[in-house]
């Protein structure tokens, strides 16, 4: 176990360096100039040159090394920079540093992602268990239908529908923004639905398989009540495929969803992935990618460790 963790942590800088280099090369090739107001008046040449130099955008190499040094903290260790892990100022939102932008957006994205996964589990497991106990029943068909809709309807349709129903008609939830729990419910639900649908299907099939096994029949023969059979014995094994799905699903949910963040005006970091690229905001692109790669690598490690903890039979390289 310790060996696994140490090995993964040692691999991390190499993976990050490769990701950094590839992202930088791609981002540099985006046409246009991030410092320019796309619809407005163009500043004189001298000014534009001064701005490019100030942000080291006149030369890809100087930007590449300078940014790498500041972001990793090497420049700080060498005494060339006043603080470590400085991801630089955003090129399009110049009053903000990328650190500030991420510090504002990451907690939001993580909270929303975790809430969505929890909701997805609650909805998905309940629906899956109901369906799995009596396959082919009306309850099963209804949950399957809802799951199908959940998977196939795009988030912006679900999101807008929820906004219209709960925000405009019923006025129980506010529209757009972030704050109290009431602000988080609708976006979390929208983000959760596709995951919930998938979890419901996984649980249902797992349940059907498990309920047909010998040990369940034995339990029933012994007179164990139905609730106990289903929740204590069958669910334990039916849950394993769900757990393996939860790893990547949680990562996906926490990376922030561009659509959900846009529809609900959630100040997370999902929109930066798209907007930063559209406006060629190099520092923001690099910052978002670096932080997220780090998070994903660590997250995968945590999931692997959790696996081992839940099911010691699993061997990991």
């Amino acid at each position: 176990m310790t060996g696994l963790i140490v090995r993964r942590l040692l691999q991390m800088p190499i993976i990050l360096f490769v990701i950094y280099t590839i992202t930088f090369s791609l981002a540099w090739l985006i046409p246009g100039n991030p410092l320019e107001n796309p619809e407005g008046r163009r500043p004189p040449q001298v000014i534009m040159q001064a701005m490019l130099e100030q942000y080291k955008l006149d030369n890809p190499w100087s930007f590449y090394w300078d940014y790498l040094g500041k972001a990793t903290g090497v420049s700080w260790l060498l005494g060339q920079h006043d603080r470590p892990f400085d991801l630089g100022p955003s090129l399009t939102h110049q009053d903000w540093t990328v650190n500030e932008i991420l510090a504002a957006g990451l907690p939001v994205s993580i909270t929303l992602g975790l809430l969505a996964i929890l909701l997805a589990c609650a909805i998905g497991l309940t629906a899956g268990i109901i369906g799995g106990i009596r396959p082919g029943s009306v309850a099963d068909l209804v949950t399957l239908l809802i799951a199908l809709v959940g998977i196939s309807l795009p988030s912006f349709v679900i999101g807008t529908l929820l906004l219209v129903i709960f925000g405009v008609w019923l006025k129980v939830f506010p529209i757009g923004g972030w704050g109290k729990l009431s602000y988080t419910f609708l976006p979390a639900l929208t983000l959760a639905l596709p995951f919930a649908a998938y979890i419901a299907r996984l649980t249902r099939f797992g349940m059907i398989d498990e309920l047909a096994t010998d040990y369940i029949r034995t339990a029933r023969a012994k007179g164990v009540p139905q609730m106990r059979v289903v929740l204590k014995h069958a669910l334990k094994n039916a849950f394993l495929p769900v757990l393996s799905f939860l790893g990547p699903a949680a990562a996906m949910a926490m990376t922030g969803s561009f659509v959900v963040e846009k529809v609900f005006a959630v100040p997370g970091i999902g929109t930066h992935f798209v907007n930063a690229v559209l406006s060629k905001d190099l520092t923001l692109i690099m910052g978002v990618v670096l932080v997220y790669s780090t998070m994903l690598i660590l997250f995968n490690l945590v999931v692997d460790v959790l696996y081992r903890w839940v099911d010691p039979r699993i061997e990991l390289a």
């Binding site: 500043p43 004189p44 000014i47 009053d95 809430l115 925000g167 529209i175 846009k262 005006a265």
Partner: protein, 652 residues
């Protein structure tokens, strides 16, 4: 069970986290800005949404009230010298910064120096070049920085740092010597111009001329004794600490440049002199302002608190407005905007007589709407069309040779005239954009600049268009419906470039293609590009006809007509004409404001009746949403400055 317990715990923590993040109570005025605010540093601003906030936080020497400069600004009065070259501004004795420091003439000199310095890289620095010596100073400093890098590259860091500091000292001395900005005393500022500039006050009212507080911008650590002195006399009575003790600025020893950080624009630092102070600014969440207790005319500030909410998605913003969370939506760009306008028209038509009667009584349109019964299903009165200080057009590439080396048919003004006269603008605004924008044949929105009479441009006249094309040597000689020149070569396929970021330009381009093919017998090919690629092609001249738009910055025709100057940085058309250049120069030298306007009118007439380097379609409009019974204080002037402190929300 273990897992369930874990889930439960996580849920509890998350709920606590989400609950603690409690938004403050609703502000008196809540609005959605046109887009995310980029910067609160007035010298570096260039976006409308930034200026809108700037006019609430800062206050310039004069303020444009959409007719005049009569709103009480920071300067109590100003005088203009006999030769119309020197303005003397007397700053109000009660003008103060939000921390209590007095506002002085030195604050303006400092702020304008910041804007002129190439180090700041301000988009609008060349606006300051009307001040005597400003342009020379700018060029001198840019040049000195270039030389510095070359001369100091080999030196050791310490010498380089000392040299950089020397250069900075020299720059400050040079500025005081060359740029005609003088503080006659702490509250009197004299500005001398290069030549008489009738619109100078309009520039001074513009956001980039607003003052910033030096100790804030540079991040001085001030002890209590110094602070007391500051409050009494202002910072100019103190000598600033060394660069090592200034938090937000430093001199880069490698480039010699003054480097400025932007952390000071955050609520905990920002000191401003306008009607409001910034109390909260959170990235992508919004910005909150409260009444500034130190402001000199607080009785004119209508709302005690203003919140600017960030909602990027226009559908969500409309829903938030419909649910009453938002009082004013300053940009409605939803694809169903035309349908919303149709609902508004249906409402107005039902009550047409009553509205007419109330307007005749001298009531405003909003007042009249507010007095009417509530709209029924399929009607609405909360969407409003505001004409702007901007124009929609298509540029002709006027260069003799195209990017590919081919001869450009649009270098011939007769061909351009033919293309302009074959376009039915009314059909476009009624059937394509469906916003009924005011159609225009000239670039400057009519009636937007006092004292300026817009000339007439070329109207829709298809038969005249064909005659023009024939006169230019293009006529259908083979009877195939397409025009050829004398040698029988067909008219080159017209390369029509547009950007694909909104459906608007695609739709207009399709209709234009149709009109030109039908009326003129030419073949047109559409080339839609993503906005970055589009812009690249536009700048490099890789197009024959390309979509464009322009918004004016200040209330003078030159803010539009400068586009046609030979070699201007925004002259995408590559247009060059000696007569136009001469007229613009004559206007710049003309001291009589009326005669100057006549020269500029002649310039625009020549451009749009004879030369037509662009096909002007219409004045751009901005759609707002607000309940006319609730929101007051919005201006209908095309400049659409919209001073937030004039706005008020009342209970209907």
């Amino acid at each position: 069970m273990k897992l369930l317990a874990m889930f439960g715990l996580m849920l509890a923590v998350l709920a606590a986290v989400a609950y603690l993040d409690d938004p403050p109570t609703r502000a008196e005025l809540v609005f959605v800005n046109r887009s995310e605010v980029f910067t609160l540093d007035p010298q570096r601003m260039s976006w409308l949404q930034d200026f809108r906030i700037a006019y609430a936080l800062y206050e310039g020497l004069v303020r444009w009230d959409n007719k005049d400069f009569s709103i009480e600004p920071a300067a109590a009065e100003w005088t203009l010298s006999e030769d119309r070259l020197s303005y003397t501004f007397a700053i109000r004795p009660d003008a103060r910064w939000s921390n209590g420091d007095p506002l002085t003439a030195h604050d303006f000199i400092y702020s304008w120096r910041r804007a002129i310095l190439p180090d700041t890289a301000a988009d609008y620095s060349n606006m300051f070049f009307v001040i005597r010596g400003a342009e020379e100073f700018f060029r001198w400093r840019a040049d000195a920085l270039d030389k510095f890098v070359a001369a100091n590259a080999q030196l050791d860091p310490d010498t380089r740092a000392a040299n950089a500091l020397d250069l900075w000292e020299e720059t400050i001395a040079r500025f005081e010597e060359t740029v005609a900005l003088k503080a006659l005393d702490d509250r009197t500022l004299r500005v001398t111009l290069v030549h008489p500039t009738t619109y100078f006050l309009d520039l001074v009212a513009f956001g980039v001329f607003h003052p910033v507080h030096r100790p804030t911008v540079e991040g001085w650590q001030v002890d209590e004794a110094t602070a007391a002195k500051l409050r009494q006399f202002g910072w100019s009575h103190l000598s600033p600490p060394s660069f090592a003790n200034r938090r937000f600025v430093k001199i880069n020893s490698a480039t010699g440049r003054l480097e400025q950080k932007h952390g000071w624009t955050k609520p905990k630092h920002l000191v401003c002199n306008g009607p409001y102070v910034l109390t909260q600014w959170r990235y992508k969440r919004g910005l909150r302002m409260e009444r500034n207790a130190s402001y000199h005319s607080s009785q004119r500030v209508h709302s005690a608190s203003i919140e600017c909410v960030s909602i990027e998605d226009t559908n969500t913003a409309i829903l938030a407005f419909e649910s009453g969370q938002i009082d004013w939506l300053s940009d409605v760009s939803a694809e169903y905007q035309a349908d919303m306008l149709a609902q508004r028209q249906a409402y107005e038509q039902r009550y047409a007589h009553r509205i007419q009667a109330m307007l005749a009584e001298g009531r405003s349109l909003d007042d009249a709407l507010a007095a009417l019964p509530k709209p029924q299903a399929g009607e609405r009165r909360n969407i409003h069309v505001f004409p702007t200080f901007g124009t929609d057009f298509y540029s002709f590439n006027c260069r003799p040779i195209l990017a590919g080396g081919r001869v450009n048919p649009f270098a011939d003004p007769a061909v351009r005239r033919a293309f302009v006269m074959s376009v039915d603008r009314d059909a476009i605004v009624q059937q394509v954009t469906r916003l009924n924008e005011p159609v225009a044949t000239t670039l400057i929105p009519p009636g937007s600049i006092p004292g300026y009479q817009s000339p007439a441009g070329l109207k829709y006249a298809p038969s005249d268009a064909r005659a023009e094309l024939k006169a230019a040597g293009w006529e259908d000689r083979t009877g195939d419906g397409l025009v050829e020149d004398e040698q029988g070569r067909p008219f080159p396929v017209v390369d029509l470039l547009y950007s694909t970021n909104t459906p608007r330009y695609k739709n207009i381009s399709i209709v234009l293609k149709d009109m030109w093919q039908r009326e003129l017998g030419v073949r047109v090919e559409l080339r839609g590009k993503e906005s970055k690629f589009f812009k690249e092609d536009l700048i490099t001249g890789n197009f024959m006809i390309g979509r464009g738009r322009w918004y004016g910055d200040y209330g003078d025709p030159t803010t539009f007509l400068d586009l046609f100057k030979t070699g201007d940085g925004n002259n995408d058309r590559g247009y060059s004409n000696a007569y136009v250049d001469e007229l613009l120069q004559r206007a710049a030298r003309e001291t009589d404001p009326q005669r100057r306007m006549r020269i500029l009118e002649e310039c625009e007439r020549f451009l749009f009746a004879e030369e037509v380097p662009m096909l002007v379609l219409c004045q751009l409009v901005q759609l707002y949403m607000y309940e006319p019974a609730k929101v007051t204080g919005l201006s209908r002037h095309p400049r659409l400055t919209q001073y937030l402190w004039q706005m008020k929300v009342r209970d209907p």
